[in-house]
């Protein structure tokens, strides 16, 4: 395993400590609950927004805490939903008179932990609601499954509700906005390699030198199918077809286009994918209003990328445009 690791069990706590040290004025780390919170939170004049999930997806979500996005993030261990206690304690700590919004990617473990924590917090009189994000078109919904997975599209939900809450929106309004953004957000990813969880110390799955996993999950879960490695253009087109095909689009529609790196793919390659996707959208008469290229929701060191489209309207575009200040920053 070629990683910068000390004790794999300390992987997450050491990362969180680093985040807090790098942002001493802005962020606070509460080791007992893996909690990263705004140093000035909770703010009684705004709804507190909390996202939790397994770790290994950084910058999501521990590096997206800050003005205009999350008030706190409460991560579990690598690829493991946070224990219910952590969510519960985080909710109590961040409780605001305006309420608490829990953002949860749609996975069984995450749903359970957050639903149980919500019940317990509500019992203590905290006004808390939960919003599930499920943007992945790779796995089809059916009565037998637990619904679609939440992947990189969660960035847009976070960003939109973050901006709205900063502007004073109440909890119901945030739920409305978050559900709306989620409903127009679609993502699909491709893995070129596996990732290596630090505690496992070896790749999570086997994949041939000429193979890709189409529709891979951000925890290295298998996707739609194994296919042969092909050109950047062909892979982009496959992702785009799947994502565009999942919502009714009309010529003249405006979208946000995100090419998200899964961790091991350099940004130069992401821009190659971006260029192709942008041009193909243009050919379909769809206009890119906002663009996002980089790492937003990763799968440790996996080489690969996902493509997200958000169908824009004026309200969503305005919320996405609003400024924010988070740990994942350049300057």
């Amino acid at each position: 395993m070629k990683k910068f690791v000390n004790d794999p069990k300390q992987y997450v706590p050491e990362m969180l400590k680093g985040i807090a040290l790098a942002n001493p004025d802005k962020l606070r780390y509460v080791p007992e609950y893996n909690l990263i919170m705004r140093a000035d939170g909770p703010n009684p004049n705004k709804v507190s927004i909390i996202q939790g999930s397994g770790s290994g997806h950084e910058p999501a979500h521990v590096m997206t805490v800050g003005r205009g996005m999350l008030d706190a993030a409460c991560p579990g261990d690598v690829f493991a939903a946070p224990p219910m206690d952590y969510v519960y304690e985080t909710t109590k700590l961040m409780a605001s008179p305006k309420g608490v919004l829990l953002l949860v990617n749609n996975y069984t473990g995450d749903r359970m932990a957050f639903e149980m924590a919500q019940e317990m917090s509500a019992a203590e009189g905290i006004n808390v609601k939960t919003l599930f994000i499920d943007d992945d078109v790779a796995v089809q919904d059916s009565t037998y499954t637990v619904g679609r997975r939440g992947v990189a599209g969660n960035f847009f939900v976070m960003k939109a509700v973050g901006a709205a809450s900063e502007a004073g929106a109440d909890l119901d309004e945030l739920i409305r906005i978050g559900e709306k953004v989620d409903s127009v957000t679609r993502t699909m990813g491709i893995a070129l390699t596996s990732c290596t969880p630090p505690a496992k110390g070896s790749p999570l799955f086997e994949i041939g030198d000429d193979e890709i996993e189409v529709g891979v999950g951000i925890h290295g879960e298998p996707g739609r199918r194994r296919a042969k490695l092909t050109t950047a253009d062909e892979m982009t087109d496959e992702l785009l077809d799947a994502v565009v095909g999942d919502l009714p689009y009309r010529a003249g529609d405006r979208v946000a286009l995100m090419i998200n790196g899964l961790g091991g793919t350099p940004i130069s390659e992401l821009y190659i994918l971006y260029g192709r996707a942008h041009e193909q959208l243009r050919q379909r008469g769809i206009e890119v209003g906002r663009s996002y290229v980089g790492e937003y929701c990763t799968s440790l060191d996996m080489a690969g990328a996902s493509l997200t489209l958000v169908k824009l309207d004026d309200e969503i575009e305005r919320l996405l445009e609003a400024p924010a200040e988070i740990a994942a920053r350049v300057f």
Binding site: P83, A113, V146, P197, K200, F205
Partner: protein
Amino acid sequence: MISSSVSITAFVVHSIAQTAVDKEREFGDLDAVVGDGDFGFSLARGFEIVLQEWDALDRSTPSVFLQKVALVIAGRIGGTSGPIWGTAFLRAAAAVKDKEQLTGADVVAMLRAAIEGIKMRGKADLGDKTLLDALVPATDALEAELIAGTDAQRALERAAVVARASADATTSMQARRGRASYTGERSIGSPDPGAVAVAVILERLAAEWSLS
């Protein structure tokens, strides 16, 4: 031989906890096939805490003891396993509330309550390719043996054998709950990690019981 029901309960929990810690890698590797590889890590980290806090856990009754264990598990194990296993232990505790001594029938009642809890929490049922597919047939076997008057050691051994066969049989199932369900037909061909864990736990328990 264990002298009271609290001690027996503690012995069983200790065996389960030790299995979770010792089999971390094996359970993790099973989960890596169509899951995300964290099952072993999650169980081990949670049961490690149970073992760390072992001496301090309230032992007034089997029920109280199990409840304390359940709180550690539900509160500190991440992933799907935290809520699932935590609920199982909590329901088992509730099933024998206030009892000092437990009979074979009590043990079966605890397992049935745990099973109901898992079904409720996971919105899962038999055949969904989860730990239920080992736990339910093993409980059935245990109950049948106890009703037939078999001694505890034999009954446990029988339950372990059934659990193993049932866990093996999950290989041909398609997952309909949990992370593995996303993969649809590709979940066929490997056993469910949770079901295998139930088998491994029962096998070890049966082996240790004779030595206790």
